[in-house]
């Protein structure tokens, strides 16, 4: 299935990309699985999305936990903890 993935702030700069369409292999069905899938690209992906890194996510514009399900056509965003206000 295909999903849209976005990156913000420091994460966007580390990865050098603001967003992309990603075709996922079967079995990638949660936010955590997607993050792991992207991290396996290696290089900055592995560093920036490593498990020990504090990365937050949103699915279709709602904050989402690591175990949240993802479906075809979803928009999944990864970003550092927010610092507004």
């Amino acid at each position: 299935m295909k999903v849209k993935v976005l990156f913000f702030a420091a994460l966007r700069e580390q990865l050098g990309v603001a967003g992309e369409e990603v075709e996922l292999p079967a079995g990638i069905a949660t936010v955590a699985a997607l993050r792991g899938h992207l991290a396996r690209r290696g290089g900055p992906w592995q560093t920036a999305l490593a498990e020990k890194k504090n990365v937050r996510a949103a699915v279709n514009h709602d904050m989402a936990k690591a175990g949240a399900a993802i479906r075809a056509g979803d928009e999944i965003a990864f970003f550092p903890p927010v610092t507004g206000g």
């Binding site: 913000f8 702030a9 514009h61 904050m63 928009e75 903890p81 610092t83 507004g84 206000g85």
Partner: protein, 148 residues
């Protein structure tokens, strides 16, 4: 209820004056966040930002008697002493207005998708989230702080 995510500055007195005209309003509590001493750029996630702020204000409305509220958050380039954020809450009495205003502000800090990048001298650096902000939002979940 007014929620605005904008580049432009805002006028506190104009916003609170508007809120104070509501039927039965007896209190308007407001908070303004300003840039400290370092210029910054505020990035946000446009498709998500307004919606996330709306959810926070709706949550506040379930906990306290909120008659109306206004939240304005700026993004883009900001200079020292510029205003960043306004939260203003209208209610019949001050207790609800104070509490809801503080609650919305605490949750904005941990739930709304904004990121600050500070520009100091030679370089720029993303601001790290602070654990104390999570603590400030988390305290509203303790039974003692819940309304009713």
């Amino acid at each position: 209820m007014k929620i605005s995510v904008q580049r432009e500055d805002f006028d506190l007195s104009l916003e609170t004056k508007h809120l104070s005209r509501g039927q039965g309003v007896g209190a308007v509590a407001s908070f303004v966040g300003v840039v400290r001493d370092v210029a910054m750029t505020l990035e946000h996630y446009p498709e998500m930002t307004e919606n996330s702020i709306r959810k926070i204000t709706e949550d506040a409305g379930r906990r306290w008697k909120v008659m109306d509220c206004t939240v304005i958050h700026r993004y883009g380039e900001l200079a020292p002493h510029d205003q960043i954020v306004l939260v203003a809450v209208a209610s019949a009495h001050r207790g609800d207005a104070f509490a809801a205003c503080e609650f919305i502000m605490d949750y904005l800090k941990t739930r709304a998708p904004f990121w600050k990048k500070e520009h100091r001298g030679e370089g720029a650096a993303w601001v790290e989230a602070r654990a104390s902000d999570d603590d400030a939002a988390g305290r509203w979940d303790s039974p003692a702080r819940k309304a009713g």
